[in-house]
């Protein structure tokens, strides 16, 4: 089994109107959680978590991937990012070919910064490009220009770092042609990995409030479906294969870190609001968590000040945790596996569920054109990707969940 580390950096220079992530624009969030000593706090949390793991009989192997997300990790000095990666190596060990990624805002990095990351062991940068169309960027409250993105990608290339770009489609006012423009721009950058997300409006965000008040039009599912198909066609034609619903890559250039989430591996999340996941052995030797306990999920306190206080006391700064029972584990296996090009392995699912599943049982979703069967795996079709919730619900029913 693989083991991954995620580090959340809850700082941004400004908040975008559509974003509901756990991030703050102030530089000092109290409780020791300020930009200046944030890396030290995270490093301290690593030590505490490592101790908790050992106390609970969880002995993780060397880390195979590290991912810094946010927020905007690149508002911290590059040296801080490198120090946190060094601490991962010191705490758990790091595989020699580990994938080490940071998210970056195109206007917060320059060539020197990227150079420092490359020297510090980073292998990948994921740029928040979002769109190549100025009026769409404005609607999304993004401050960078399309040129910033090109500069960043070129700089990364020169340092031997792989680049990925994120795109968002379905913003109010974005036409189909606007979207084609953005997709072509991403392809023309020559990156080997692209994530494209339908804009999801959360009611608590500024954009959510404007839509509820009727001053912005609500994103339309049919429009987003059309844009998804455009993206899938254009990326495929350019040699970028879909490997997860919202992710396309040149074969071999997939994000190993993110694949880990969908394959339900173990990971430790550091930083306010970060989640962690540990599988438990299927034989039920899970120390008082019930006979069908299959895993643990925990999440750090979201508020940086409260989080910081716990970290300073060398306590695991969790807000909560849940034991994942057998059926829940099966549900997660299904809903995550069905997002992937590699699909959902029926043998694996049978083992998770504790009873034999046959491909015949999945006839209804195959007949409905939602999935195909490939070497004992249920693989979603494009229709099954767009109607993924329906596909998942049907599979739950088939599995008696």
């Amino acid at each position: 089994m693989e083991y991954e580390v995620y580090i959340h950096v809850p700082f941004c220079l400004r908040r975008c109107g559509y974003c509901d992530f756990n991030t703050y624009t102030a530089s000092d969030l109290g409780g020791g959680a300020s930009r200046g000593n944030y890396a030290d706090m995270v490093i301290r949390e690593m030590r505490t978590v490592r101790r908790w793991q050992i106390d609970h009989g969880i002995d993780e192997p060397a880390v195979s991937t590290v991912f810094l997300g946010g927020g905007t990790p690149t508002v911290l000095p590059a040296a801080d990012l490198v120090r946190m990666v060094d601490a991962v190596r010191d705490t758990w060990g790091l595989e020699p070919d580990a994938e080490i990624t940071t998210e970056a805002n195109p206007d917060t990095v320059d060539a020197d910064y990227i150079h420092e990351l490359a020297d510090g062991g980073f292998t990948r940068i994921s740029f928040g490009m979002q769109s190549a169309v100025p009026h769409v960027l404005r609607t999304l409250d993004r401050t960078h220009t399309p040129e910033n993105v090109t500069a960043g990608v070129r700089a990364a290339e020169r340092c031997g770092l792989r680049s990925s770009v994120d795109l968002i489609y379905g913003a109010p006012g974005e036409s189909l042609d606007d979207w084609r423009t953005s997709v072509h721009a991403a392809i023309d950058l020559g990156v080997d990995h692209v994530s494209a997300y339908a804009l999801t409006v959360e009611p608590t965000t500024k954009m959510g409030r404007r839509i509820a008040a009727g001053t912005l039009p609500r994103p339309d599912d049919d429009d987003e479906a059309a844009k998804y198909e455009i993206a899938d066609d254009l990326f495929s034609a350019a040699g970028l294969q879909w490997y997860e619903i919202s992710n396309w890559a040149r074969p071999g250039r997939e994000s190993r870190h993110n694949l880990g989430y969908w394959r339900n591996v173990d990971w430790a999340g550091m930083g306010p609001g970060a989640h962690s996941h540990y599988a438990l052995p299927l034989d039920g030797a899970a120390g008082g968590r019930g006979e069908d306990a299959c895993g643990i999920r925990s999440w750090d306190i979201a508020h940086p000040r409260m989080w910081g206080r716990k970290v300073t006391m060398d306590e695991v700064p969790w807000q909560g945790e849940e034991t994942i029972a057998r059926d829940e584990n099966a549900e997660e296996t299904i809903m995550l596996g069905l997002r992937l090009r590699e699909g959902l392995g029926l043998d694996h699912l049978s083992a998770v569920l504790g009873r034999e599943l046959t491909s015949d049982m999945f006839r209804p979703v195959l007949d409905a054109g939602l999935a195909v069967l490939e070497n004992g795996r249920i693989v979603p079709t494009r229709r099954g990707r767009l109607l993924n919730d329906s596909l998942i619900a049907d599979c739950f029913e088939i599995c008696g969940l």
Binding site: Y261, G273, H277, E331, L386
Partner: protein, 626 residues
């Protein structure tokens, strides 16, 4: 020297008895005034009043509606003589007119209690006329005179005009402060005639109410007309022909007090071993099994259900629970009838007959609240006589019983509707009644401000949401009363609704041909809004026979996927899917189509089309017909 008067329970001279009831609209303060009477008479000490009142509420909440003081024996001294007042409760609503008429038959007088801030309401007026028909002495009273918004002068005038008395004869009381209540009791003694039954004749008693009490069984309230009943004497119900051994007879004053006998003119109760209220029917005559009377008291008949509707458990596994719950309600409600029914769309349920809309609402609310049942109720339906071309007559209480093929004649039940309203709404109410095929009769001013309008209307037009619309078009000021008024033949058709080409029996309706198009267009549009998009396209059609009159299409769902599902999203996403799974369980599967419960409720309202698209579609459908 005058003969000494007997006045104790079981042995009371008729000359000192005064039996009366209180006619009042809901919220006009009947119970407050009744409580005040109990307190003034001294049978409930003042310091206990509050506690008792609260107690009673608790028990009523706990045990339903069975504990009300249905008929209390109240002592009242006037001019040096102690009288016995029999205070008889009357149900407050139009649906229970039959029970009201039985209560009136048990009295010689009626207190007409009217809220001095609101004036008389249509249902009160209809009960008042019924009391006048029964030759009851009417004592008009305005209540709530303590309120600043009371207008006693104005409403006294109104009442005086209705019953032909002098406005100054209208008493003014406040149940809240007790003002005027003693005068009211004096007035009852003076105005209400004493009973004049024959104390020597074979016993005859009128059953005017009958309730199921989970501790005591069936408690039957009776008014003795002639003769005497004794505590160990077998009784015979003349209408249903059953004989019972009484377990107890007595009077309520204010608690149940057993007595050895009940004599002519007295009001009391009898407990027999009867299992449910149908074995002790309101309106029946009770006599002695040993020395029976030859003729029952007049006016025995079963109340007839006027409105039918299907009740189906959302989860068909709850069918046995629904049956059990209906059986339990029936113990207390002889008027409720039900037979098992199977719907293709909704599975197993019951076809239920009700006295009227309120009765229907009460039953359905009690089923969900007291028995925790999740039910789908189909649109209410009246009883039609449908003659098919071959001359066969069908008794249709459900659209699914409507005969296929050509129909020769359809007869529908009619009601006489009385509506009281402030005069500024006359135009609005005329429009509303006309839209509902009402034929206007007379109209009277009951005061300078308010009128009573009389309409003859098809019952079917009232059972949908007529009352709600009446309230909304008159800002809540109009009140409605209706009673059966024969039948008429009418040009009615059955409109079917098809989802994905399959007829959904629960949505079929029998409507007037003029309204068929609007029903079809409105229903298909409503369903298009209410049924969520699914993986495939769903055509929704309305049809008369094989002819499609309206069509809408629910486009296939193209996308439901969540864009992002990374480490921190997994728990939330799983919980969301679990919630959706639970929501799906509350949907009804019609073929492959998931239909939410709201869709079935939508069929229960008939609001007028307002938007252009709907109006255009209705016109287009009508044109095709022409």
């Amino acid at each position: 020297m005058a003969k000494e008067l007997h006045n104790k329970p079981g042995y009371t001279d008729q000359s000192v008895i005064r039996n009366f009831c209180i006619i009042a609209h809901i919220d006009h303060g009947k119970s407050t005034v009744a409580d005040r009477i109990l307190q003034l008479s001294g049978i409930v000490p003042e310091r206990e009043m509050r506690d008792r009142f609260l107690d009673r509420m608790d028990i009523e909440q706990e045990r339903g509606i069975t504990i009300k003081s249905q008929a209390v024996r109240v002592p009242w001294t006037f001019d040096g003589t102690e009288y016995t007042l029999g205070m008889i409760d009357t149900p407050g609503h139009v649906d229970f007119t039959y029970e009201v008429s039985r209560a009136l038959a048990a009295c010689e007088g009626a207190v007409l209690l009217v809220d001095a801030t609101q004036g008389i309401e249509a249902q009160t007026l209809s009960n008042l006329y019924m009391a006048i028909d029964h030759d009851l002495a009417i004592i008009p009273v305005l209540n709530k005179i303590d309120l600043p918004s009371a207008e006693p002068e104005k409403h006294a005038e109104e009442i005086a005009g209705l019953i032909g008395c002098d406005p100054s004869d209208v008493l003014r009381v406040s149940g809240k402060t007790g003002e005027g209540v003693a005068d009211l009791l004096d007035q009852i003694v003076m105005e209400v005639p004493a009973p004049d039954g024959d104390p020597e004749a074979p016993a005859r008693a009128l059953i005017f109410d009958s309730v199921y009490d989970s501790y005591r069984g069936i408690v039957t309230y009776i008014r003795m007309e002639d003769g005497e009943l004794h505590s160990r004497e077998k009784v015979h119900m003349m209408g249903i022909g059953m004989t019972h051994e009484p377990i107890e007879i007595g009077v309520i004053s204010p608690d149940m007090t057993p007595t050895k006998a009940l004599g002519a003119g007295e009001v009391g109760y009898i407990i027999t071993g009867a299992k449910d209220v149908s074995q002790s029917k309101v309106g029946d005559t009770l006599t002695s099994a040993v020395r029976p009377a030859s003729e029952p008291l007049p006016g025995y008949r079963d109340p007839k259900p006027m409105v039918y509707s299907g009740l189906f458990p959302v989860d068909n596994a709850q069918f046995p629970e629904l049956r059990e719950a209906l059986d339990k309600l029936k113990l207390n409600d002889a008027a409720l009838i039900y037979t098992p029914e199977t719907s293709v769309a909704l599975g197993f349920g019951f076809r239920c007959g009700f006295l009227g809309l309120l009765h229907m609402e009460i039953v359905s609310e009690r089923l969900s609240r007291e028995f925790g049942l999740d039910l789908i109720q189909t649109a209410p339906n009246v009883t039609y006589e449908v003659t098919s071309e071959d001359g066969k007559v069908h008794h249709v209480t459900n659209p699914s019983e409507f005969p296929e093929g050509k129909v020769k004649k359809i007869v529908e039940p009619m009601v006489a509707a009385d509506i009281i309203l402030p005069k500024e709404f006359i135009g609005a109410v005329m429009d509303l009644c006309q839209e509902h095929r009402g034929q206007m009769g007379t109209m009277e001013y009951i005061s300078t401000e308010r009128v009573e309008m009389h309409y003859r209307m098809p019952l079917a037009e009232i059972v949908f949401d007529f009352f709600d619309q009446l309230k909304s078009r008159t800002k809540g000021y109009a009140s409605l009363d209706y009673h059966e008024d024969g039948e008429q033949s009418a040009d009615l058709v059955k409109v079917d609704i098809l989802i994905q080409g399959d007829k959904v029996d629960a949505f079929s309706a029998i409507v007037h041909r003029d309204k068929a198009y609007s029903y079809g267009v409105m229903m298909t549009k409503k369903l298009r809004e209410l049924i969520p998009r699914q993986q495939f396209e769903i055509p929704i059609q309305a049809a008369i026979g094989s002819r499609i009159i309206a069509r809408e299409t629910i486009r296939a769902l193209r996308k439901d996927v969540l864009a992002k599902c990374y480490g921190g999203d997994i728990t939330r996403k799983r919980k969301l899917l679990e919630k959706q799974k639970a929501g799906k369980k509350r949907m009804k599967m019609l073929g492959h189509v998931e239909v939410p419960q709201e869709a079935f409720i939508a069929a229960l309202s008939t609001d007028e089309p307002t938007d252009r698209d709907t109006k255009d579609k209705i016109r287009a459908a009508q044109k095709k017909e022409g």
